[in-house]
Structure formats: structure tokens, C-alpha cells
Symmetry: C2
Subunit: 211 residues, 2 copies
DNA sequence: GTCTATAACCTGATAGAC
DNA sequence: GTCTATCAGGTTATAGAC
């Protein structure tokens, strides 16, 4: 047989396969949970024999761990917009937009994250205690500074952050419920914009930065 | 042996055992998911031999179904406060209080519900399409009436309801994360009150019914 | 109605040929 | 590096004694 164009080195091929497996795993874990997911199902979805999964990821748990860690890294990047603005309306508004965009584009990842936390974070407890704790404290400090400067109402920063996380992630984690209540159809572009606008309107007014 | 006081009829005994099993099942399902939960673990937690579980509930799925249906019924009862008030501040405020109380008292149930919805509602899809849909439409109508009467800002009722669900249930579903960020301790009485007050303050002001 | 012992099945993981 | 065949362990569910 004529050799097909092999632009892929071994390293590139490995990265491609790992990416394929991780994408399939995220989907299956999000739909069936860790216990309900099977390596066979992930392999089928990735288009690879089951044994290959164990070649790239020695155990089911190591594969799951990689999925969760990737989600967490991705999740942190949305936080940058918080720091880039020193106006609460702009900072919190942009954070809502960023988190809603993640909920829309990566609902599976959000679901895996939610399940992991609900199961008492068996694999990412250390991240909660270090990275997430530090991130939360830093953002709370920013909010407290805005409050001290009289730019927003004196609300509890922690509970405000929980409200932001809860509200934005709800559109990913409960997407099936929202879809059902929407007549069985996913939210369209206009509905996603309306959702963002509603959330920003209520929260920004609620903390005294608009109107 | 002297007969111990048997105030229990067979029917009462059956109800007691079923209650015991259902409580254990809710806990185990919430902590391990459907796939991760085992009948053995539920039996141990209920203090019964595994075979007895299959006597009361023929299959693991039937037990799980009963758990989810119970949660849903319980969940609906919090909605009553919504109808009993015709003032939005009172109605929505009381609804937030009621849902927060459920999150505090029944975190396991909330987690099972969340997981069930995330897995595309394999056993309660019919409830979503009927009971929940009707409930949501009814409450949206009430909100729209309040808006028409000029008692609150013109916000989208659906997105407001999602925000209420998301925010209140977050304290149950993500209780482990909140606990970790709280220094490893569950929220105490004062912190729960602060959480309720924060949520009510932001949302009620955000929809234009206070201040 | 209750419980022990067992059956039937499925899953994660691996050995070993290619 | 890849894949088929297989093993070892654990799970649901049930048969059958009490």
C-alpha cells in the first residue's frame, strides 16, 4: 500500500489519541458518572480498542483524574476577566459572561466537576484546599476593596461568589431540565443572550452597581 | 423470652423497614452515584441483610426510583409559600427561605436530584415534562402578574426561577466545596442566616422590590 | 418474613501475539 | 505501539432453608 501522508510524529500521534480519549471520557463520565461509565464505552466513542485506553491511561481512575484536572484548569481561566477590570460592573459582568460561555461550550466538563464535588471531591480535594481557596480569597479581597471604595453595596463576598458560580453553572449542570422546560429544545442564541442579560441585570442591580 | 412490646403491626414494620432502607439509599446514592452505590453498602447502612432489600425493592433501579420520586414530592412542597403570598417580596423571600431550609436539612436528596437531572433524567423524565413544567408555568404566570401590576421589574420569569433554584440548591449540592472554603467546617447557624440574608438582599433588590 | 449461599453476569485490567 | 483473548474480582439478583 502507498504510504499515506504521515505528517504525524509519534509524539503527535500520542497527543492526538490522548485528546480523543479525554474528550470521549469527559462525555461518558458526565452522562453516566464514574461508576456508570465503562472503559468499553469510552473506547467505542473514541474509536479505539479498549486495551489502548489502558496503554495511554493505566487505570480508569487515572483517566478520570486527568479529565477533572483539565476541567479545573479550564475553569480557572475564566477568572482572569475578574482581575483585568477594577470597576465592579465591568469585572463581575465580564465574569458572568465568561462563565456562561463555558457553560454553553463545555457542559460536560461542568457536570463532571459538579459530580466530583458532590461525591466529596475524592480526586481533587487538594485543589479545593489550595488553588481554589487562594483564588476565592483573592477575589473576595477585590470585592471588599470595591465595597470599601463605595462602588457597590456591602455584601458578603463569599455568598456573592457562590451565587455567581451557582447561577452560571446551573445552565450547564441542569441543561437537560432547562431544555425540557424549553419544549425539548436547547436554548438558542437569543435565549442564551437573554439568560446572560437577566443574570447580569438582577445581580448587578442587586449589589448596587447599576441603576 | 418475654415478648418485647410489639406495638408494631406487620404493616407498620414494613413501613419502618422501607423508611430505613430509603434513608440509607438516599445517602449512599448521593455520595457514590447510582453506579457507584452497591446494595451491600445500603444494606449495611440500614442494618439489614442485603437480601431483605430485594424483598422490599425488587431491583436496585426500583429502589433508586423511589428515592428520586420522594425527593421530588418533598421538593414541590416548598413551592406552596409561593402561592400563599401575593406580594413578590414576601412570596419570593419565603420561597428562598424554604428552599434554603431544604438544602440545609436534606442535602443528600438535593444531590440525588441533581445527579439524576445531569444524567438526562433516566427515571423522572416524565415528571419533568408534566408536573415540573406545569409548576413552572404557574409560577411564571404569578411573576408576570406581579410585573404587570408594577410591583417588580420586568424580568424574564424563567431565568429568575432558574436563579432561585441554582442559588439555593448550590448550598446543598456543593456543600462539600463550601465546607472546604469555610475552613473544613460546615456552615453554622449564623452563617446559614447570613447566606439567606445575602441571597434575599441581592435578588429582591435586583428585581426591584426592595430599596 | 428473614437470611445464607450461590448463580449469572459484567467490568477493569493484563498477557502475549503481531 | 496495537489489538485479541482471557483472567480475577466484584455486583445484582435469586434459590431455598428456617
Amino acid at each position: 500500500m502507498a504510504a499515506q501522508p504521515r505528517t504525524n510524529s509519534k509524539k503527535e500521534r500520542r497527543q492526538e489519541n490522548e485528546k480523543l480519549i479525554l474528550a470521549a471520557a469527559e462525555k461518558v463520565f458526565s452522562e453516566a458518572g464514574f461508576g456508570g461509565a465503562t472503559m468499553q464505552l469510552i473506547a467505542d466513542m473514541a474509536g479505539l480498542p479498549k486495551a489502548n485506553l489502558h496503554y495511554y491511561f493505566p487505570t480508569k481512575e487515572s483517566l478520570y483524574r486527568q479529565v477533572v484536572e483539565n476541567i479545573f484548569q479550564f475553569w480557572l481561566q475564566a477568572a482572569d476577566v475578574f482581575d483585568d477590570a477594577d470597576d465592579p460592573a465591568e469585572g463581575i459582568g465580564a465574569y458572568i459572561d465568561a462563565k456562561m460561555e463555558i457553560s454553553r461550550r463545555h457542559p460536560s466538563g461542568s457536570k463532571v466537576w459538579a459530580t466530583e464535588v458532590m461525591h466529596r471531591a475524592p480526586v481533587i480535594q487538594d485543589y479545593l484546599e489550595t488553588t481554589l481557596m487562594e483564588w476565592t480569597e483573592g477575589r473576595a479581597a477585590i470585592i471588599n476593596r470595591w465595597i470599601a471604595e463605595g462602588r457597590m453595596d456591602p455584601v458578603d463576598p463569599d455568598h456573592l461568589l457562590y451565587m455567581l458560580w451557582a447561577t452560571t453553572q446551573h445552565y450547564a449542570d441542569f441543561s437537560h431540565q432547562i431544555e425540557t422546560l424549553n419544549g425539548g429544545k436547547p436554548l438558542d442564541d437569543a435565549q442564551w443572550e437573554a439568560a446572560k442579560a437577566s443574570i447580569k441585570r438582577i445581580i448587578l442591580k442587586g449589589i448596587g452597581v447599576t441603576e
